[in-house]
Symmetry: C2
Subunit: 346 residues, 2 copies
């Protein structure tokens, strides 16, 4: 089979790799029909994160079960499945508690098995990791496109909103107009927010934010954006979604949160980890900081129900579609900010 | 009248100062009967925090109302009152929301009015700031000693427990065996925790922690303490109270919290502010960080009810009692760790 391989900064190639095979009785083999390129993939692509040359890439698989191990109970060949960006056994304390990203036996795709940017992948703990798509939508491409972002960005935006405590009537600030920020807008609207202020720097993305339910957009930078947010919210929002992971975006979140409010953060905090977090401001505001890798698997069924009912459609986050051979171009386009998020259809 | 004045590091003196007088119609003048020296007073005492020489000190007053301004509605001369370490108007959005430490018009004693380590003090926003003690206990010294820590340390320990989400049956780690940590143990027990693990380095204080309800104590340092905590809790506690504010204590809290758990932090984060916060560990655990200056005023009536019923008595946190002239000795004793917390009786 063929798959994307990382060879070094800005060097992704499609190459022949061995077919995956069942290694544990809880494995399944999934023939991939849709996968994606993630904003977090750009870190190694840009050389900002260590990643071993020769490694497989990708962590957002959707596809058809081809084979299952002897202990897989709830899936069979032919099932169409979604997989979250984290693998989880579905049976441990943390999986039961709705935190599959802390699964005792779980992990991430490229480090635990194969990357998901390829023709097929071995899915460990198939019963725990994979979620079946109902048969009656198998041929509905629009619904499948809308379901597919549940593998990562939609669940991640939802996690930001949950962590920020968004509920009916809320005023919410969403920092970041990437795919996760846009999904954060959708999630906030879905949870009943009345006012959603999207913060970003790209006019086309902020337009998408409006289409997704943002009532206001703020496109200024730094302190000017904060000033505008504080004016719009008369002193800060009780709910702030930090959907970037940068030091300046986190600082904006801390400055824009209302005393006693909460910041939901879901971008791996590469900026704050390096430059420090303004904990004094957070402290004196009695603001809550809550977030982490989104437990996408735990959210998937509720979000799927809304997609199937037609009330949720995050598919517009994809603004470029490629086939397997187009993956290197997809990376380049996202790197150059020509594409927001790339859908790979096989 | 006489009051404590800061003259420089390790130099507190009792001197004559002008009597306080009503300046705003919402003021009251309180003749102080009990006040205290706080762990946070040691920062300027040790020269670790800027503090203007000649300034008054102290922020935990209890006493008798002597005079009220024309707009004070709920207090009259002769009332015995407690005051939290923060002044609040009782009427703004944040006061109504239970966050008087973010009061729109509020502030702290020494910066907004006089320090509270003296014979009397002007209390701004008397109706909002002061809480009346029922008359039937005015002569009950034991009850008054038990009520007095509600001005600061008991409310602060309670805030840590609330922020960490402590509830019935919880397993809780309390980091710090100072007055706030000990009150955190009391608060956790009061909120129904089943297992309370106190972490500190002083045998006598950990004995107090046991008397206050700690089921286990950990006296090792650094990573050894963390190792012991992870063993005792089989992988971390869902509720961790960080009652120190140091970089190493916060790191212990992050290491000891269970994935998906919460850290309540109430010590002004002087350590983490300087040395940074291990946000990557916090993030990958999906742990919540919540805390700030305790909204003591909002907690006071509920805690007072328990003290009056005899089910709550934080007074053992005081292990040294002095009169007004003994305040300099009290600072020295706390500075040298010969005293845990000093009660000043006038």
């Amino acid at each position: 089979m063929r798959a994307a391989i990382f060879h070094g900064a800005e060097d992704i190639r499609i190459e022949d790799v061995p077919d995956p095979r069942i290694e544990a009785p809880t494995d399944a083999i999934v023939r991939i029909t849709r996968t994606a390129i993630c904003g977090s993939d750009l870190w190694f692509y840009r050389g900002q994160q260590d990643y071993a040359p020769g490694s497989r890439t990708g962590h957002e698989p959707m596809g058809v079960v081809e084979e299952v191990g002897s202990e897989v109970r709830h899936l069979k060949p032919g099932d169409l499945v979604l997989a979250p960006f984290a693998i989880s056994d579905g049976t441990c304390e943390f999986c039961h508690a709705g935190l599959p990203t802390s699964c005792t036996h779980g992990g991430f795709w490229a480090s635990m098995t194969d990357g998901a940017q390829g023709e097929a992948v071995r899915a460990p703990f198939a019963d725990g990791t994979l979620v079946r798509v109902p048969e009656h939508v198998h041929d509905n491409d629009a619904i499948l496109d809308a379901l597919f972002p549940l593998t990562d960005v939609m669940g991640t935006g939802h996690h930001a909103a949950v962590c920020a405590g968004v509920g009916p009537g809320a005023t919410v600030v969403v920092i970041g107009d990437g795919a996760v920020g846009l999904c954060g807008v959708l999630a906030a609207r879905r949870l009943g927010a009345e006012r959603i202020i999207a913060v970003g720097h790209h006019a086309d993305r902020l337009e998408k934010a409006r289409a997704f339910g943002a009532t206001d957009v703020v496109s200024r930078h730094g302190d000017e954006a904060v000033h505008e947010l504080l004016e719009l919210t008369r002193g800060g929002a009780r709910h702030v979604l930090e959907c970037v992971g940068g030091a300046s975006s986190m600082q904006q979140a801390i400055q824009a949160v209302r005393p006693g409010g909460a910041i939901g953060y879901v971008g791996v905090p590469h900026g704050p980890a390096r430059e420090g977090l303004d904990i004094m401001s957070l402290f004196f505001k009695n603001a809550t900081l809550r977030g982490g890798p989104a437990p996408v698997r735990a959210y998937m069924k509720a979000l799927m129900a809304d997609v199937l009912e037609g009330t949720l459609d995050p598919s517009p986050v994809f603004d470029m579609r490629v086939d397997l051979d187009g993956i290197p171009d997809g990376y380049a386009a996202m790197h150059e900010r020509k594409a927001l998020k790339v859908l790979v259809k096989l």
